[in-house]
Symmetry: C2
Subunit: 552 residues, 2 copies
């Protein structure tokens, strides 16, 4: 008897596992379709649908099929059991069922209305939903690391001041503006009876603001890259989107750890400074964690001469970069931010110590991981629209979000550009500002932040809205990039290296003395350079000085 | 009140997640240490400890630390709850605890003695044990695919007949011999009262025989590669170990699906033919699945001219190869076998259609995945010796396994070599036979097969024994490879391509007519060649004919 049951349970497990294989196969199939479609589009120079848009479209179609074509789930799985002895949900549950002990692992809390209302749909929900933590721990890190690692150092440092302004100040402005506008809409919805007062607090609105502030112009940047759009514009947009993800993630985290403690409606001065303090602490800690792992990698690759064995070198590089992420998470900091700055520092220091073979290996490895992860996320977003069970579509809230996102983007780009132009020698032209305004797409990070918590009804409404905003911005603005570039008459076909050289030459010719003085006065960079030179790597001197010269 | 509880549960989840990060960090740390050690050894040309041996050693030390240094787990987690309403363990359990519904996922069945005997150790067990399916679904596929993909075609086909004989016939012999010897030992143990009669059936012994028949001479092959040992010996050993994994996996599967159905002690003729039938069906199905995915990849890369976009090409290659694995698993076949033949076929067909960039990308990608996965597995094996909770060390059984493994290896290599030498023009010398006998190391596949099922006491005893056999063979035989090569006076420093050419020249010079006749009579290969040429790819004619000529 006992024997028999064991085989039954093994078969159950097999069934469970086969289902997993089928799910992964569906994803593989969608990704293969996406790749073939991208090829078709690229081959015909058709730029209205980017690969991410295509992935989303296929995901959507597959979601529709899964939802309406597959047979309805079995009834049994919706049953709720009572356990009087337990006081709270432990992470591991040992249950004695007819004299056999089974181990169960905690998965999540289910809100009551979910169980009673949609009984029987649990199966579908289980069928096609990842654990949200997969986004944060597996799919996002390679994307963010790749962004940091592939950063074009020279152009980045040349515009660093502006990029930091947009990323920090701009994201904060965007978060607050979205929060305020959404709070207005929520108040109005309460007034007309669409929402209950207690459901939506100001901190929830700020939370929504912070998650919707993570821009992801992957579609736009891909087209910029293909058309060789003006390097300054490319760098500003790329740099902003990279750092802005980090800021938005830490901001969301600071707001969410603040909210439960006190009265959530009174967001007073003390609370504000506490959030700012949290933000700065977590950001600085993650930054330090990420860059110190990269410095360790640089030192190891410098002193061990590991470059004779490219495989070991690549392995070490990969593991130490991943460790930066894990250490930050284990220490309660933000892994994504750590991995971003780890990528930037690896590119600055370690890259120069690597063998030619490892340079290519690491670049290609992270490029490939980025490609796969990005397409999986966009594919999954398409799938989620029909397979996620707890969508709450609220037209007014969605309309409010649309308005808020655009007002927030405008009050980020235009005022900050004006302020920056006061100080910049090379002004940011109006057309660039319009293009940056237009490129405020939402993507992987906003989605990942929204799916992290879908327990309560406000959070579910936010998730649905965020998902729709991603669809809308990727398809409409992503598709409109090429026409917009033509309309704004932004120059394309620029060779980035040539551009830099000619500009540097034309700048240094008339005011040679001024430049020399500036270089000599930049003592901080001289110390930095001296430190790098003596301790971490031997940079190409010309290269380095050029970086530093163009700091602002 | 409800609010408060929710935040508590979020914190629980955070804690749970942080622990996951710490676990992964420990693994990363071990792998980084391993890489640095390997570098040190390679730098000093110290060949007694291979990287896999080093990884195992570090895992062992870390396992000791985790076991004896970390603080004892909390008491709560060992409590077993009763649920009278349930009749069997469902995959998803919804439990109502103080008016809040929690979802729990089925993890595994725990044998009774485990819960009562080692109460409180559950925490440790959870702390450092992967889900065994991770080995089969994540770590093993890249290793096996890489083995197929990196196969040196020419040398492989030249020795195909011998390799197939060792892999199929040899593994079957090994399985049966180990099974019989172990059955003898088990009978003896029952006689002296160390075991109860009913615990260990003949099918269990055969199961142990099949899993211990998977050889993994990764250590030996790495040294062969480094020293450029005779190509024929390298190819024989490499080819045997690659195919033999596939045979052992399918064999284990056929035996395990046979055993529950009938009286497990009577392994009669009908049962034998049923097992052989299962084996052939699963093997042929998996082979067909794997190679057809590779042919699809070849056709797609031929007709789409995807080679203009190396990233898309690499992505497609990766996804289709992975799909071969998943489809086989979803269809109830053996994914590992499918992925092996997929790799072989990809190397034969698709590789020729890829762009130069993709050729390198795919090679390096799979090489890297293989490197990481292999070291993770060996590291984990070291860790498992101290952290796995249900070890059953039975000295007599372990001694029996040691004897059985060596007798089985001898009755595989020597008789089959004798038979093969009757037909081979290029005989397998005595020294090669001794070296092959010596290279019967056990590794990742044997371990993965053993850890798959550790529910019952016999299975736990088998797992412990298999683990110790891996340790013993990898350290003792792996470390003894270089002295053994010197002792047997096997030639080293051979350039494989040169070797092939000179031998082909010396062979074709005296008996030109014979060779031409042989080539003309090989009509099957001419058809194959014509088909490949017209439909799938344009092979280098000379290359192709050479492969076929050396079929036996």
């Amino acid at each position: 008897m006992e024997k028999l049951k064991k085989y039954v349970s093994v078969e159950d497990e097999d069934h469970f596992y086969h289902q997993g294989a089928v799910e992964l196969l569906i994803f593989n199939f969608l990704l293969i379709l996406t790749i073939l479609t991208i090829w078709l589009f690229k081959n015909h120079r058709f730029r209205f649908l980017h690969e991410t848009g295509g992935a989303m479209l296929y995901g959507l179609v597959m979601g529709l099929i899964i939802r309406y074509v597959t047979k309805s789930p079995d009834v049994e799985s919706g049953t709720v059991y009572e356990c009087e002895k337990l006081k709270s949900g432990p992470t591991t549950l040992l249950i004695n069922i007819t004299n056999q002990v089974y181990e169960y692992q905690y998965k999540r809390e289910i809100s009551q209305h979910n169980v009673n209302g949609h009984q029987g749909n649990t199966m579908l929900q289980k069928q096609m939903t990842f654990d949200p933590s997969i986004f944060f721990n597996i799919l996002l890190p390679p994307i963010i690391f790749h962004a940091g690692y592939s950063l074009k150092k020279r152009h980045f440092f040349r515009n660093l001041g502006s990029i930091l302004t947009y990323a920090f100040l701009g994201t904060a402005i965007s978060c607050i503006v979205i929060g305020l506008i959404m709070y207005g809409f929520v108040k109005a919805m309460v007034h007309i009876g669409q929402l209950k007062q207690w459901e939506f607090h100001f901190t929830d609105c700020l939370f929504f603001g912070s998650l919707m502030s993570a821009t992801d112009p992957v579609t736009v940047l891909a087209i910029f890259h293909e058309l060789n759009v003006d390097t300054d514009l490319y760098t500003l947009l790329f740099g902003e989107s990279v750092l802005n993800d980090a800021v938005a993630i830490v901001l969301t985290h600071s707001i969410s750890i603040y909210s439960p403690k006190e009265n959530p409606n009174a967001f007073d001065a003390a609370a504000f400074f506490q959030s700012v303090g949290n933000f700065l602490g977590i950001f600085a800690g993650s930054f330090a964690m990420g860059s110190s792992y990269a410095v360790v990698t640089a030192l190891l690759t410098k002193f061990t001469k590991l470059c004779e064995f490219p495989m070991l070198e690549t392995g070490l590089f990969f593991l130490l970069s991943w460790s930066a992420f894990l250490s930050a998470e284990a220490a309660g900091l933000t892994g994504i931010v750590a991995v971003l700055f780890c990528g930037v520092t690896q590119a600055h220091y370690t890259y120069n110590n690597l063998s030619a073979d490892s340079k290519m290996r690491t670049k290609q490895l992270f490029e490939f991981m980025n490609f796969l992860a990005e397409n999986v996320i966009f594919c999954y977003m398409g799938l989620a629209l029909f397979t996620f069970q707890n969508h709450i579509f609220n037209p007014l809230f969605i309309f409010g979000a649309l308005v808020a996102v655009f007002v927030a983007r405008a009050s980020n780009i235009y005022p900050l550009s004006f302020l920056l132009n006061l100080g910049r020698k090379q002004k940011i032209p109006r057309t660039f500002q319009h293009m940056m305004m237009f490129s405020g797409l939402r993507g992987a990070v906003a989605f990942a932040l929204a799916i992290r918590d879908t327990d309560s009804q406000p959070k579910q409404m936010m998730f649905t809205t965020a998902l729709l905003m991603v669809f809308f911005t990727v398809w409409v603005f992503g598709g409109g990039t090429t026409p917009m570039l033509t309309w704004l008459q932004i120059r394309v076909g620029v060779d980035p290296d040539e551009d830099l050289k000619t500009r540097a030459a034309s700048q240094s010719a008339p005011n040679m003395d001024k430049n020399t003085t500036k270089a000599e006065s930049a003592w901080l960079f001289r110390i930095w350079y001296g430190f790098d030179h003596n301790n971490i790597y031997v940079p190409d001197q010309e290269d380095f000085l050029e970086d530093r010269l163009f700091f602002f």
